[in-house]
């Protein structure tokens, strides 16, 4: 357990959080390398079934992040995302999915440091929770080992 490296998937919007994470880069702020970012046009586009798919594929934690309320590039996509998240969260909770493993946040294009904080805090909280074996037991699909070449 000590050498457990959580695998985090981040679903972010193109205009705020993706740009915010770019700013983290240009500001050379270091953060944990456990996260893999998937770019969407807007958090409103994020089909939450993708989150379950990510758990299915072996993710231990998930970050969903977009523009702050009222700052959505598309006016209201993030509001739709937020509403659906409220529903989805209670559904997940009801189904027994550990909602502590999903972090929902707003990171603007100017918040490079906040992005680093969110990744680091998510990585450390998932590290405490351990690998998400329960989910993989349910779907009867052990996560494959990542070996890279």
């Amino acid at each position: 357990m000590a050498d457990f490296e959580p695998r985090i998937v981040a679903f972010v919007c193109n205009w705020c959080t993706y740009a915010g994470a770019d700013l983290t880069g240009t500001s050379r702020i270091k953060y944990a390398s456990n996260v893999r970012i998937v770019r969407f046009p807007c958090t409103g586009r994020i089909d939450y079934m993708l989150l379950l798919k990510a758990f299915d594929e072996g993710a231990d934690g998930i970050i969903v992040s977009g523009c702050h309320p009222n700052d959505c590039h598309y006016t209201s996509g993030n509001f739709h995302a937020r509403r659906r998240w409220i529903m989805f969260r209670s559904l997940c909770d009801f189904l027994g999915i550990d909602i502590r493993r999903i972090k929902f946040s707003w990171v603007s294009a100017a918040e490079g440091a906040k992005w680093a904080d969110i990744v680091n805090s998510t990585v450390s909280s998932i590290r405490e929770l351990g690998p998400y074996e329960e989910y993989r037991k349910i779907v009867k699909r052990p996560a494959k080992e990542v070996t890279n070449g």
């Binding site: 880069g25 594929e57 680093a116």
Partner: protein, 667 residues
């Protein structure tokens, strides 16, 4: 079978310092579907791009993954390179190895592993990419300018002078806006009317400008290049073609006690009125709320005296429909009135006035013909106090921002007062003097040093009346918050500049975003200050934030150039990353079941209901259909769709699921 090329960039040492680029390229080369994989020092350089182009030509690549910097930086560059080599530009994707990997992680295997993951994800995505073609939409080369203040005037003239048609609408009976109310302008003290009125006349006479005064935007439909606007021309109760503007009606009108908007309530006007002598158009309107005929059913004196018989009591509002390609919003701002301030007497004392009222007192065309006389008894005030930041920079009042223009106009007011009232004493209470601008600081120094205006750094806690004087209680913070009490004859509050009432409603009509203070929001605070997030709608002047005249004019000219740029093309090309509803062969036609959840989710009203009909014209099925001109590609509808019938090009279900499935599992 895909033939994908992977191009790993070192970005000098920006990527290669922490990521083993050769290993990334080598690993990627082993993936199914990848036929070519290479790493190179600068992929965005000319030789780098040539490398990509040659590989596309020689290896017949069907997809390209460039693993380099952020796609927000160089995606257009590489897509263009692909297009030049004959590959559809939308078959090119970028893996962000720099901002999201090499710059934020330490050197080591985990970082290289992450880089490999990021490349693999995009390789999987690119397999499902489809060739897309840019959307072309025609452009109507007419602009609509909303608001006839200095910003709207400037924008209209600039657009009209490029040879394009302009429709300018103004809600008041005359164009001119706030600038026409001003006495002199800082920092040159030239008369506002003298520099403005020639431009107003130019607008009225310009062959390319159609001017609708006393008109408001009723509704707006459409999208960039193809807007359809309905304009409500409020009834002026006047046949403008017959009216010669002689003004006889205004002299004979018996309702003479209506506070004049133009004079900020310091003067009176009649019910049939021209707002000010230099108004454009110089023809009266009847204010139906105050006209005796409309309120009591009797009078019609104006009709009797009119030598041309131009009065039309039964005239109705007229709706004009126009087609325009671009819109400039120049609706300006307003100021808080004195009744907003309990500590300064709730506006109950007539001698506590706003800055705009002082402008009217100081103006040669104003109610006192330019003499500074206090409203209560017409006496010349011997002691006058100016308060800056009345409401502005005050979180408790809900206006935390700086209104920006007040520091300058207060210095101007104090200066004008000193010029007009010799021996008078003037005090300015200020928090900070914000005189950023060409010749601005010098102007303020002139007020203080040459004209002897007393500047007191501190705020005023209370103003009350005592023995016919206004007692202004404040503190001088430069003297250790020493209490200051001034017996003044008149007080001028530099009240906060705020968004117009109804700005929010207008923004919603236009689908333009607005900030928490209801000022219209620009697309980018630095790089797109005159654009809005709605393509084809631009901002000029104080509707975006408090602005002085030079700034409003610059913004207006900037917006005009954006409009002219838009009108320089006959067709617009747009990114084809938009939503589409699937179509299938009969008898299914589409997996869409017509629940139209997407219609309510769409922020752009881009989704329409389409009826699929058989040969006899009977409706077989109702399905959703996306208008490619309106869709901005947010994809909110995609996540809503119950049957997964709507998908967004560039971020399709196939693409996103293949990305997620490739993220964590070794291929």
């Amino acid at each position: 079978m895909s033939k994908i090329g992977v191009f790993v960039c070192h970005c000098g040492e920006n990527i290669s310092a922490t990521v083993d680029c050769a290993k990334v390229a080598e690993t990627a080369g082993k993936y199914d579907g990848v036929t070519f994989s290479v790493d190179y020092k600068y992929m965005c350089s000319d030789p780098g791009q040539t490398l990509i182009k040659n590989a596309i030509a020689e290896k017949g690549l069907t997809g390209v993954v460039v693993a380099a910097c952020s796609p927000r930086m160089h995606e257009p560059t590489f897509r263009k390179a692909c297009a030049e080599a004959g590959l559809n530009p939308y078959m090119c994707e970028m893996a962000n190895l720099r901002e999201h990997c090499s710059w934020v992680h330490e050197k080591g295997d985990p970082t290289t592993d992450k880089a490999i993951d990021l490349v693999r994800v995009l390789v999987e995505k690119v397999k499902y990419n489809q060739s897309l073609n840019a959307i072309k939409v025609p452009v109507t080369k007419t602009a609509l300018v909303i608001g006839g203040g200095i910003a709207g005037i400037q924008a209209s003239l600039d657009i009209a002078n490029t040879g394009h048609k302009v429709i300018l609408i103004e809600k008041d009976p005359s164009i001119g806006g706030h600038m026409s109310q001003l006495s002199e302008t800082f920092p040159t003290l030239d008369c506002s009317q003298c520099i403005l009125t020639p431009r107003m006349v130019e607008v009225a006479q310009h062959p390319n400008i159609t001017l609708y005064t006393y008109a408001e935007l009723e509704s707006l439909e459409g999208f960039i290049g193809n807007f359809k606007a309905k304009i409500r021309r409020k009834s002026k109760s006047l046949d403008e073609k017959l009216c010669t503007g002689c003004g006889l009606c205004t002299t004979k009108c018996p309702s003479k006690k209506i506070p004049s908007e133009f004079n900020e309530g310091l003067g009176m006007r009649t019910a049939i009125y021209v707002p000010f002598p230099q108004a454009v158009p110089n023809k009266p309107v009847i204010d139906r709320k105050n006209c005796t005929y409309y309120t009591k059913g009797k009078c019609r004196i104006c009709e009797k005296v009119c030598p041309t018989g131009a009065i039309r009591f039964d005239q109705e509002d007229q709706i004009v429909e126009v087609e325009v390609g671009a819109i400039v919003l120049a609706t300006g701002f307003t100021i808080k009135q004195t009744d907003f301030f309990p500590e300064y007497g709730y506006g109950k004392h007539p001698d506590i006035i706003t800055g705009l009222q002082f402008e009217r007192l100081a103006s040669a065309s104003g109610p006192t013909l330019g003499e500074i006389r206090r409203p209560s008894d017409g006496k010349v005030p011997q002691t006058i106090v100016f308060l800056s930041c009345a409401g502005s920079r005050d979180e408790a009042k809900g206006i935390p921002y700086c209104s920006k223009i007040c520091c300058m106009y207060i210095a101007k007011h104090a200066m004008l007062y000193q010029h007009k009232v010799h021996g008078g004493k003037s005090y300015v209470f200020y928090m900070d003097i914000r005189a950023g601008g060409k010749m601005y600081e010098e102007f303020v120094r002139r007020a203080i040093e040459d004209d002897g205006v007393n500047y007191v750094r501190g705020r005023v806690s209370r103003i009350y009346e005592k023995n016919g004087k206004l007692i202004v209680k404040g503190a001088d913070t430069l003297l250790g918050a020493m209490p200051v009490e001034i017996e003044a004859d008149m007080v001028v509050l530099a009240t906060a500049g705020v968004a117009n009432e109804g700005a929010e409603e207008l923004a919603q009509k236009l689908h333009v975003s607005y900030d928490p203070y209801h000022f219209f929001a620009e697309a980018h605070p630095k790089l797109k200050p005159v654009e809005t997030n709605t393509a084809g709608i631009f901002l000029a002047g104080a509707c975006q934030a408090p602005r002085d005249i030079p700034e409003s004019v610059s913004m207006a000219s900037g917006a005009a150039v954006k409009v002219a740029g838009l009108f320089s093309q006959d067709e617009l090309t747009r990114e084809p990353l938009i939503a589409v509803v699937n179509r299938q062969p009969a008898p299914v036609y589409s997996s869409c079941v017509g629940c139209f959840l997407c219609v309510s989710a769409c922020p752009y009203q881009a989704i329409e209901k389409e009826e699929i009909k058989d040969r006899s014209g009977a409706v077989i099925k109702r399905v959703a259909k996306v208008n490619p001109g309106l869709c901005q590609g947010c994809g909110t509808c995609v996540a809503f769709c119950r049957t997964k019938s709507i998908d967004i090009q560039g971020y399709t279900h196939e693409q996103m699921y293949s990305e997620v499935m490739a993220l964590l599992n070794e291929y």
